[in-house]
Amino acid sequence: MTMTTENLSAAEADKDIVATTEDAQLDAVKPGLQYGGTESQWQLIRARFRRHRLARVSLWIMAVFAIVAIFAEFLAPKDPHDVQARYTYAPPQALHFIDRDADGWRIKPYVYDYKVEVEAESLRRVFRIDETKKIYVRFFAEGFEYKLFGLIPMNRHLIGPEKKRKPLFLIGSDRLGRDMLSRLIYGTRISLSVGLIGVSMSLFLGVLIGGLAGFYGGLFDAATQRVIEFLRSLPTIPLWMGLSAAMPRDWSPLQIYFAITLILSLLGWTELARVVRGRFLALKSEDYVSAALYDGASHVRVVLRHMVPAFTSHIITAASLAIPGMILAETALSFLGLGLQAPVISWGVLLQEAQNIRVLATAPWLLAPGLAIIVAVLAMNFIGDGLRDAADPYTH
């Protein structure tokens, strides 16, 4: 239907219309678009993305994750590497806001201290909440020293106990009495950046190889397609295991980190290359691409000016759908002990602690990183879905 808004008002007054309906449509707008036709592709995409509620919510969630990753040191209440042997497997403390005592009440957040008892039969230490001792929690409390963005030396944290060494384990502590919340916050940084850097690297490979294959076709296209098919037919876990086993043991955690992302992206580019190649092939037969060639535009200009804008949105979509795969792959590798190694903290490394079912029975909060992974992966997938639906605003 090319019904127009103008028709609504015009048709009544305009009972005697001659055949120049086209002229009457000059200022007309197509239905579904409340604009005057001067919106760029990105404005249209944004308008359509906004209608995807799940994706919008997910975008906010990922924004929170990103802020957590960027400001990890500031947000972590405790040093994630700080071992407090007294508090191994301490359960989560509830945060209270209203402080009641004999004088009445005021708003002052606090947690209760722990009482440690040793069970007689199993000789196991059991933590009980000691309601007689309050540990006050302060905002912008002084804590461990760090450098914000690696530059600004600081020791303030969003929250922290009034006294530095007092226990504050909002989601419990691990085997060595380290604060799980702080470790989870630090893990967010590593896990998300592995996803992001890994996808950027595979994006580079994918766009380059897929673009060349799609634009020039022929032998190069056939060769890359076979390579992609071969790579995709490899069972991934044994391959990762082989590759990470081949990594020298004496590498620093940073080197291992980059090697892992490289391994992930070397296998991850194939999907993106296919997307890019497919778009190139589809676009090559579009009349407007022929028109640009007939305008005398060079090949480079045809590709960059006329073809690439048509699929940047598709690339962004494919990339955002690839990030969860990367995160999951890193988690799987680290979980198996083949990826990142302690002292580097990632979600997968944290989950290593949750491998033992008996440990899980006593300290189920060790699964918290699993929850973070689920939320992050689902959110990224929803964002990808929303982008995919919004990606091509010109299809009907």
Binding site: T2, A11, Q25, G37, A292, Y294, H306, Y394
Partner: protein, 566 residues
């Protein structure tokens, strides 16, 4: 409602259909009323967006996402005397489903998308029969074969087991009709069933529908924007404009005493194309711009792993013609005749195996367009420009109109900055658009406007030749005439030659100076437009011409004239 006395089978009464977009409410059909009678064809005419298809869908009660806000669609059962009101039924209910397909059948413009590609034609017809009639599979198959025989499909016993992709476009439309008629409906709704077809195929389908209507005695509602088709088949005509019925009457009255100015304009536009006096052709003296000799192009078939190799197609065979300065040369033929390939060869997309196409450039040297190297320095691209068939895919949706039209100016270093902007504004004015629109994106324009933008891009470099590949086939009647007039005006003002590729020989008389008729890759006849249209020599040209619907109901070419008894 009481049963009317005459043979009215379906009555549409003050039907309103609304589309809602957020807060906007668009009336797609407003107080539409008309009757369908057994044995008569009612044509709904109007341009795209006039509400014709919506009305047809409202009769079947399948208007989603729109809603039928008021009005009635009443279906009468003349034998039983029953009356059924369709518009108020639940669109997913059993009652309306018993009507769809069985008592009212519908055929669509694009038969391929209405047929399931994974089932045989026969299986689909059999399913339709068994859904609505109480027969066993064997009997249903027999009826399916009969139905295919009725629509003149050759060898129906074997065709019944074929898949849709094995059928040609015309055969698919025949199969759709067979499927629609398998349950012997009282009403057949045909929504632009011939728009996607060649004129000769169209003539066959029109004849078939008419024939089946007489033998089945059903009512036909035929939706089209082509006044020629209306004149050929209609008994009654309903003219729609933007959701309103502006005129309603017998075909004779509509064509010969139209009351509404819009009807007059519609008929005028189609008559103008057909009754145009052939203009004197520009003198063909001096040297031709393009002189093509014996162009031959063979597309080899795909080598297959199994089975017989595809023999390939001889797309062009010894094609020779001259294009003289300032003339409009029409290239006509059915789809598959090689006319589009010919255009592509001249633009350097394909290199023919044999022959040459010598082009005399503006600077005086001669280049062979059959040679890829002639296009190296882009001079040919500056002098020979192209207008594309599909106004939707030929404009980059991600660029503004200004960027689209300015592209050739920019890449050829002709104008930059403010000068470029001024030139774009000037070009927009030349093609009849407002310069204020240059910041908009193509999605804000209608098909005709888009084609004007494409023309502005083509003339931006002041070309010597324009190749217009089916440039007007995607446009509705009156808009087509406007675009043709624009091209004629530009030819007179800018003095370029136009190679006009078209499957519609109807527009050729109006638009072209000389015509080349192509068939299966060969040129069968060359002559002035006057001579080709009025005194064709070759049988193929005669067949093509006789298939063009004539926009005068008193002078039917395809159909037998209306009998006086009717």
């Amino acid at each position: 409602m009481t049963q009317p006395n005459d043979d009215v089978i379906l009555r549409v009464d003050r039907l309103n259909v609304d589309f809602t977009f957020g807060k906007m409410n668009l009336k797609a059909a407003r107080d539409v009323s008309f009757d369908l009678r057994l044995g008569r064809t009612t044509c709904l005419v109007g341009e795209s967006g006039s509400g014709k298809s919506v009305t047809a869908r409202a009769i079947m009660n399948i208007v989603e996402p729109a809603v039928i806000s008021s009005g009635a669609v009443t279906l009468f059962d003349l034998k039983e005397g029953e009356v059924l009101e369709l518009a108020s039924l639940d669109p997913d209910g059993a009652e309306i489903r018993a009507v769809r397909g069985a008592r009212i059948a519908m055929i669509f413009q694009e038969p391929m998308s209405s047929l399931s590609p994974v089932h045989t034609i026969g299986a689909q017809i059999i399913e339709a029969i068994m859904l609505h009639q109480d027969v066993d599979k064997h009997e249903a198959r027999k009826r399916a074969i009969e139905a295919l025989r009725d629509v003149h499909i050759h060898d129906p016993e074997r065709a019944v087991d074929r898949y849709p992709f094995e059928y040609s476009g015309g055969m698919r439309q025949r199969a759709m009709i067979a499927m629609a008629l398998a349950c012997e409906p009282d009403v057949l709704i045909a929504d632009e069933p011939t728009t996607a077809l060649d004129v000769t195929t169209q003539a066959g389908i029109l004849k078939l529908i008419r024939e089946l209507q007489v033998s089945h005695g059903m009512a036909v509602m035929f939706i089209t924007h082509d006044m020629g088709v209306v004149a050929e088949i209609a008994d009654d005509v309903v003219v729609m404009l933007r959701g309103d019925v502006v005129e309603h009457g017998a075909v004779e009255q509509i064509f010969h005493e139209p009351k509404h100015s819009y009807s007059r304009a519609l008929i005028g536009a189609s008559l103008g194309l057909n009754n145009a006096e052939a203009r004197p052709a520009p003198p063909t003296e001096g040297t031709p711009l393009i002189s093509a000799r014996d162009l031959s192009l063979f597309f080899p078939g795909q080598r297959k792993l199994l089975g017989k190799p595809d023999p390939g197609v001889q797309t062009l065979k010894d094609v020779s013609f001259d294009l003289w300065p300032g003339e409009i040369l029409g290239v006509v033929g059915e789809s598959g005749s090689g006319k589009t390939t010919l255009g592509r060869v001249l633009m350097g997309k394909y290199q023919p195996e044999a022959g040459e196409a010598l082009y005399r450039t503006g600077s005086g040297d001669v280049r062979d367009l059959a040679d890829r190297n002639s296009f190296r320095d882009k001079q040919v691209y500056r002098e020979i420009r192209m207008i594309f068939q599909d106004p939707y895919s030929s404009l980059n949706p991600r660029m503004t109109v200004e960027q689209i039209i300015a592209e050739p100016l920019w890449v050829n270093n002709i104008a930059k900055g403010a000068a470029m902007r001024d030139r774009v504004a000037e070009l927009l004015e030349i093609v009849g658009l407002s310069p204020a629109m240059m910041e908009r994106y193509p999605h804000a324009f209608s098909g005709g406007q888009r084609q004007r933008i494409g023309i502005a891009r083509a003339i931006a470099l002041e070309p010597r030749i324009i190749i217009a590949d089916e440039a007007t086939s995607a446009l509705d009647g009156s808009i087509r005439a406007q675009v043709l007039d624009l091209l004629l005006k530009l030819r007179d003002e800018l003095g370029m030659a136009i190679l006009f590729i078209a499957h519609d020989i109807g527009v050729v008389r109006y638009f072209c100076d000389r015509v080349v008729v192509m068939h299966k890759g060969q040129i069968v006849e060359t002559g002035t437009a006057h001579q080709i249209c009025d005194a064709p020599r070759e049988d193929y040209t005669k067949a093509l011409l006789s298939a063009v619907p004539s926009p005068d109901p008193r002078n039917r070419k395809i159909m037998p004239p209306l009998s006086v008894a009717e």
